[in-house]
Amino acid sequence: MKYNSKMSGKSIASYIFLIFTSFVMVIPFIWMLSTAFKEPADVFKLPPQWIPRPVRLKNFQEVFQFLPFARMYLNSIIVSTTITFGHLLISSLAAFAFTRLDFPGRDIIFLMYLSLLMLPEEVTIIPRYIMMKNFGWIDKYQGLIVPLLLSVFGIFLLRQFFITLPKDLDDAAIVDGASWYRVYWQITLPLSKPVLSALAIFSFTGSWNNFLWPLIITNSDWMKTIPVGLAMFQDLYTIQWNQIMAASTIAVIPVLVVYILNQRFFTQGIVLTGLKE
């Protein structure tokens, strides 16, 4: 990636486009942020109040009073981090098999995996709950984590990326006597940092925001995750908007952090050395 030291026409055009569109992207988020500091009666003042007057910090206090929010935060972090690492490992192993290896049943199994994405989880939630009860995993971290370690999305994503990697390096290593496990670990994975980062971002975001399963599997407030906590502010007749926004604002931070930290993998190109093109 060449670094442009002077602003070319292309760069200026890019900036204009980005500034304009980013504004559109961000407006609802700004409303969310400002509502987090509003009095309940001000939430629906129209036209929308962008700067809350008065500012109500009590919303945040109430969030922590109504719920064991700090504990939920911890739960979300533990669950999401574990699931993310699980996804990265398990999905990459499977994607490697689907693209680098040749064995009977390979494509059929891949199609079978793909089809797992096609059945809505709602209709299987009751038997899964009963299974968790039989395992004794209700209201425990195991229940929150283990059944979600499979990511067909991740397998599919990684597969599409692995396909584009040239097989020359693999073949060279195999000829030199390396096992497929070494090829996976020392060649394929290091070359896949961008897509692994993308998967890390999505897995973390996805499990952080996952709502239905954690809701079903947890009973006690101190095992719940953040999205479940957020939903608790909704009632049959009313929604506590200012408190939900306050909680959401806090909740968004780790996801943003994971996203930003992974950005460095999206600014290096792939340098394939030692290959004759």
């Binding site: 009095e39 309940p40 009666a41 939430v43 629906f44 003042k45 129209l46 036209p47 109430e62 009073q65 109504f66 709602e122 939630i125 009751i126 709950y129 009963i130 009860k133 239905l212 809701l215 079903i216 009973n219 006690s220 407030d221 479940v228 939903a231 608790m232 502010f233 909704q234 009632d235 049959l236 007749y237 009313t238 929604i239 506590q240 908007w241 408190q243």
Partner: protein, 428 residues
């Protein structure tokens, strides 16, 4: 010899000690009850929590665990738990689902004999409540609140527009006249002000107009929908006119943009609110003055029928509960406690009215009007699969509110669909 004697004595002492412990344990058997609710409101949930804590203090051998399940997933989780044979012992339930739950055999009947045995006296409860919560003439829940509709109005808005406040002599004609004077159209990005507002749900709103007009929703046996009858259509037409013809009520998407309680935004002059959780929000209003009065009456029939419901203000006992009697006792305690919290609804037990409703700071402004409206109350036509009936009618009514269907067309379509639903229920 000495050692054997010493060991034997020790063994005997230990055995006695253990037996005493075991006996204590056996007598003070710790019972755990699980209580599920959906309360997202801080005060509401807080009252339930306080009730539980008070109960545990009075009954040290009972532990009550609260299960807070958000409303949207309440009916996902309760069935899942029951399927795994561990449903909550006590749980809140809404009248819309009550009949289904009774038919599915999920609830334990609370018989008069059981009430007598546990020393529970429900005789001071308001009689309307039994009309709604008793199914097949039997009791399945302990109700704790009831919510009739009444008229709530924005005094400041009335003052600004120079309109006289609603009074007990008002008919819907005066209502409409006042609403017109209170309405200001939208301009640019500022929404307008509306004299009143509507609601697509029959149990929250339009049933009252149909009944006041002399129409019916369903027949008495609840086997046929009567919304396509002239009196019902006439009533719905009047409501649609509020939005489309007179423009004194906001269209459906404006309502959505105002969130859950539009009255709080200060842009609604008056509407037929109801007690319950909305009252807690009204208490947070700072920008304007508000007051309540009884509903206007119908100009020709003179009826003043509100929409009234116990709704979700009731708790049921799980049929497979391992501690049914303790569950019922806890349920009654909870009901009483909830009634003393001033959290919005009219307490089911009339004994609590004086101190905890009429004179409670949070509910004093709605007390007089709502209690008066109870006199005119009619129970909603709850059936099996009522949530589906509700969805069907809401869909049609929403299309009527947005002007895509005439009142007549919407009601005819609703009747057709509801009849199909009722027929499918009858088959069983």
């Amino acid at each position: 010899m000495k050692r054997v004697l010493r060991n034997t004595i020790s063994l005997i002492l230990v055995s006695i000690f253990l037996s005493v412990c075991l006996i204590n344990v056996a007598y003070s058997e710790q019972i755990t009850l699980v209580y599920a609710h959906w309360f997202g409101n801080v005060d509401y949930a807080g009252q339930a929590k306080a009730a539980v804590e008070a109960y545990m203090k009075l009954n040290p051998n009972i532990k009550v665990e609260i299960l807070h399940i958000p409303w949207a997933q309440y009916w996902v989780k309760i069935p899942a738990m029951c399927a795994a044979k561990e449903g909550p012992d006590v749980f809140n339930i809404d009248s819309a689902a009550l009949r289904d739950f009774v038919d599915m055999g999920v609830l334990e009947e609370i018989t008069p004999a059981l009430l007598k045995k546990l020393g529970i006296d429900l005789s001071t409860y308001h009689p309307f409540i039994w009309k709604e919560v008793k199914i097949y003439g039997k009791l399945w829940t302990i109700p704790y609140g009831v919510n009739p509709s009444y008229l709530i109005y924005n005094k400041t808005m009335f003052d600004k527009a120079g309109v006289n406040y609603p009074n007990a002599n008002w008919t819907w004609n005066e209502f409409l006249t006042a609403a017109k004077k209170l309405t200001e159209p939208a301009s640019g990005l500022t929404p307008g002000k509306f004299g009143t507002l509507t609601n697509p749900a029959l149990v929250n709103y339009w049933a009252q107009y149909i009944w006041q007009n002399g129409g019916e929703i369903l027949n008495t046996q609840r086997t046929k929908c009567l919304l396509d009858q002239p009196k019902a259509i006439e009533a719905m037409q009047w409501i649609q006119d509020l939005i489309i013809k007179h423009k004194v009520a906001p269209p459906p998407d404006a309502l959505q943009a105002m969130g859950g309680l539009p009255f709080m935004s200060g842009r609604i002059g008056m509407y037929t609110g109801w007690t319950g959780i909305g009252v807690l929000s009204y208490n947070q209003i700072k920008d304007f003055e508000w007051a309540t009065t009884i509903l206007p009456k119908h100009p020709t029939t003179g009826k003043r029928t509100p929409v009234t419901r116990v709704g979700g203000e009731q708790v049921a006992i799980y049929k497979e509960s391992k501690h049914k009697e303790e569950a019922i006792k806890f349920a009654k305690f909870l009901a009483d406690y909830m009634g003393t919290g001033g959290i919005g609804f009219i307490p089911a037990d009339t004994k609590l009215w004086e101190k905890y409703f009429i004179n409670h700071p949070r509910t004093s402004k709605v007390a007089k009007a709502s209690i008066k409206m109870l006199e005119y109350a009619r129970p909603n036509p709850y059936t099996n699969k009522f949530t589906e009936l509700d969805t069907i009618t809401q869909e049609e009514v929403n299309l009527m509110y947005s002007g895509e269907k005439t009142a007549e067309q919407a009601m005819k379509d609703a009747t057709r669909r509801v009849d199909a639903l009722l027929a499918s229920i009858k088959k069983k």
